[in-house]
């Protein structure tokens, strides 16, 4: 069993938890993920590592409530336990040899972009961060990001905070101005990553995208997380989760990510109703 040692709401739909998992905390690195189950009947879901504290033996996860499992997880409190928490899985972000990197995060993806920015920063890399949210209420981790960034750009779709527009706007401005990034690393909604990759492709800047497809075992056994990269089939769990963004078939990934959309909606409603009944 793995204890939830802290819980914090970052915005109305995004929650941060620290999980006591010393073995995972000891080895976790930016870019890797964990798989957890919320209860004995729970499904296995992957979440990218949002942080870790090797001394306290904790791993930070940040999740958005989208389906039944995240709904159930969000109803757990500090001190509660979850039965399964396995990791670290996947390959870590490669930070060696980089001097200047632009990290582009979107929505809850910023939670995963943050440890990447941090790892880069701690390795002496010059970090430009561009983060985007739908509106002011959904902004998360702004101060943390600033702490690890040499340059920082805040964007909202509706202009209620920072600049109005999507993350590609400042990214293209910087590239147009002649900023030379060794690499752009993007983590967020598939549609955002697709457009970030289209932007950087125009300027020939190498771009890494962190994928978070549906998974079961997370060790290569089931092939559920497969995606097409450069015309080849890859498994996000063992070959990734980070890939060359210019080679990813994002349209296919977006389609596959919706395989169980209806089921998820039903499950979430079902979970909500159960919790409502408990309250009554």
């Amino acid at each position: 069993m793995y204890q939830i040692v802290s819980k914090k709401s970052l915005n109305p739909t995004v929650t941060q938890m620290e999980i006591l998992a010393p073995f995972v905390a000891k080895k976790a690195r930016a870019g890797q993920f964990v798989i957890l189950r919320v209860d004995e009947r729970g499904e296995r879901i992957p979440l990218t590592v949002a942080g870790y504290d090797r001394e306290r033996g904790t791993v930070t996860i940040i999740f958005q409530v989208v389906g039944g499992t995240t709904e159930r997880l969000n109803h757990k409190n500090e001190g509660d336990f979850i039965p399964d928490f396995v990791g670290p899985l996947g390959r870590p972000t490669q930070v060696d040899g980089l001097k200047k990197v632009c990290v582009v995060g979107g929505g809850v993806g910023c939670a995963i972009a943050l440890p990447v920015a941090r790892a880069l920063h701690e390795n002496g890399v010059d970090v430009t961060s561009i983060v985007g949210f739908r509106n002011k209420d959904l902004v998360i981790l702004e101060e943390d990001f600033k702490a690890y960034s040499d340059d920082f750009y805040m964007m909202t779709d509706d202009g209620s905070y920072g600049r109005k527009g999507n993350v590609c706007v400042p990214l293209e401005e910087l590239l147009e101005k002649g900023e030379r990034f060794d690499e752009v690393i993007t983590i967020g909604p598939l549609i955002m990553m697709k457009f970030v990759c289209l932007s950087t492709k125009k300027y020939g800047v190498k771009t890494i995208a962190s994928m978070n497809p549906i998974m079961i075992d997370g060790t290569g056994m089931c092939g559920c997380c497969r995606l097409t990269v450069g015309g080849e089939m890859k498994f996000a769990c063992v070959d990734g989760p980070e890939f060359d963004g210019h080679l990813i078939d994002f349209d296919e990934a977006m389609s596959r990510s919706r395989s169980y959309a209806e089921f998820e909606t039903r499950q979430r409603e079902h979970a909500c109703n159960l919790f409502k009944k408990e309250v009554e």
């Binding site: 928490f85 075992d217 060790t219 290569g220 089931c222 089939m233 498994f235 209806e262």
Partner: protein, 476 residues
């Protein structure tokens, strides 16, 4: 000595009616009654050369245990099996006995005669033991102070762990998933191998002192090197299983509704997605194509059938060449699975809509296949299939399950310096399972590529003996 039963055929196995069982996940084969078991046991004529024992990968003392059943001493029969097999209730159900012990049985040599039903008797003895045992045998052998790590809790790992624990080793099994059992829990369906039985066999090992650590992906959370140095394991056995599912490399394999057999079976077996209110989703197709002809394909097809689909097995060779066990093929046919033999997929076709916002976008709509014919036999004696020009046709389906085998998982190779692998990625071992690294042994699918439960158990057994010798020789 009771008189022999000279009836030429086996006592038939009682089974659930095909029309009933195609709608449930309960076990298909119901097992012999005590009378049937004794009658079958009396068919064994205690021949002198005992070919069955050599035919068994773990050399169960078959005539002895059958003799006990014939005498009505069922617990005695179980104890004899348990001396050589860590998982009797499992083997009695899933071993391909017709290719092993029963293939060489003296009673089956003459035309029109069947071998003794060794597998059925093994299952009977194991089930009888489980049903009548009062408490788990908690007598742990005296420890010899040596720690051994086992990676993977499938048949190879469990057998190796059990054998070493019986010799007094302090054994820890590391399992990547949240439950122990490996392919016995994620791969083989409930209707062929009830999970309660696997659980019981594992409890039995734990009673021997074997420790099981779930949620531990060795290679990531701990390396083999760390197990040996930091954690003081004198030896490591790798039984990590087969690995990554293969696909055909044809267009449309990443459409929604296309599964690997591993994924489909894992959802159903491990995650219990077949239960109506499961938290894990699975597609309940209307018409499902399962590509492949092995045991895993049969399991996937029969699972899809139970989830309510019309199911087609698509296999490029003929009936004779189907690699699955005869019993599985027969059961599948009885349940109404349609066999499209000498047929090979060419591509998988998507629904027509091009609007990604349309919920029906990107789903499987049909599978295009081509008819095949068998050519001349090649050097290996297998007749290779060739496509018949112009014979393409489409079969409308809403789900496709690819069951084409697996390729080895690269994780341990990638994270263990000096661990040699073969050309295709299988871990290189000698005859007793020794790898290129001192004190590191391997067996089962990780070393051989996809094979059977009992072969993995045999490899786990041989490696356990080698690990014991290795550690004892270092003692001196």
């Amino acid at each position: 000595m009771p008189p022999f039963n000279m009836q030429p055929l086996k006592n038939p196995m009682p089974t659930q009616d095909a029309n009933v069982r195609k709608g449930n996940f309960d076990e298909v084969a119901l097992g012999y009654t005590a009378e049937q078991a004794i009658s079958e046991a009396k068919r064994c004529i205690r021949c002198k050369h005992r070919p069955c024992v050599a035919g068994c990968p773990v050399n169960v003392k078959i005539p002895e245990f059958i003799g006990k059943i014939a005498e009505g001493d069922f617990e005695g029969a179980y104890q004899i099996i348990a001396e050589d097999s860590s998982l009797p209730a499992v083997c009695g159900r899933v071993c391909p006995q017709e290719k092993q012990c029963e293939r060489v049985c003296t009673r089956g040599i003459k035309a029109g005669c069947e071998s003794v039903g060794i597998g059925r008797l093994e299952r009977f003895a194991a089930d009888w033991h489980m049903a009548h045992e009062k408490a788990l045998n908690a007598v742990t052998p005296p420890t010899n102070g040596h720690k051994v790590a086992v990676i993977g809790s499938g048949p190879a790992g469990l057998t190796c762990a059990g054998d070493l624990a019986r010799k007094g080793y302090d054994v820890t099994v590391f399992e990547a998933l949240h439950v122990a059992g490996g392919v016995l829990v994620y791969g083989i369906p409930e209707f062929r191998l009830p999970k309660a039985i696997v659980e019981r066999e594992i409890d039995q090992l734990c009673a021997l002192g074997v420790k099981i650590e779930t949620n531990m992906v060795i290679g990531r959370v701990l390396t083999i090197e760390e197990l040996k140095t930091e954690y003081g394991f004198a030896a490591v056995f790798i039984g990590s299983g087969a690995g990554l599912p293969k696909f055909m490399n044809i267009p449309g394999e990443n459409l929604k509704g296309v599964y690997s057999a591993n994924e489909f079976l894992t959802r159903s077996n491990l995650m219990k997605a077949y239960e109506e209110d499961s938290h894990t989703p699975i597609q309940r197709g209307k018409r499902v194509a399962v590509v492949g002809g092995g045991n895993v394909a049969m399991d996937a097809a029969r699972t899809a059938r139970r989830l309510g689909a019309e199911v087609h097995i698509i296999y490029r060779r003929g009936e004779e060449e189907l690699p699955a066990r005869q019993e599985e093929i027969e059961h599948a046919k009885e349940e109404g699975i349609i066999f499209d033999l000498l047929t090979n997929p060419v591509r998988i076709l998507a629904t027509e809509t091009t609007d990604p916002r349309d919920p029906s976008f990107g789903w499987v709509q049909a599978i295009e296949c081509v008819r095949m014919e068998l050519g001349e036999a090649d050097e290996s004696g297998r007749r290779s299939p060739k496509a018949v020009a112009g014979s393409e046709f489409t079969l409308p389906v809403d789900c496709v399950i690819m069951s084409l085998g697996t390729s080895p998982n690269p994780l341990l190779k990638a994270t263990t310096a000096g661990l040699n692998t073969l050309r295709r990625g299988e871990i290189e071992v000698d005859a007793v399972g020794k790898t290129s690294l001192e004190g590191v042994y391997c067996g089962g699918d990780a070393a051989t590529g996809a094979a059977t439960v009992i072969k993995a158990m045999g490899a786990g057994k041989i490696a356990a003996r080698a690990i014991d010798e290795y550690i004892q020789s270092k003692e001196k």
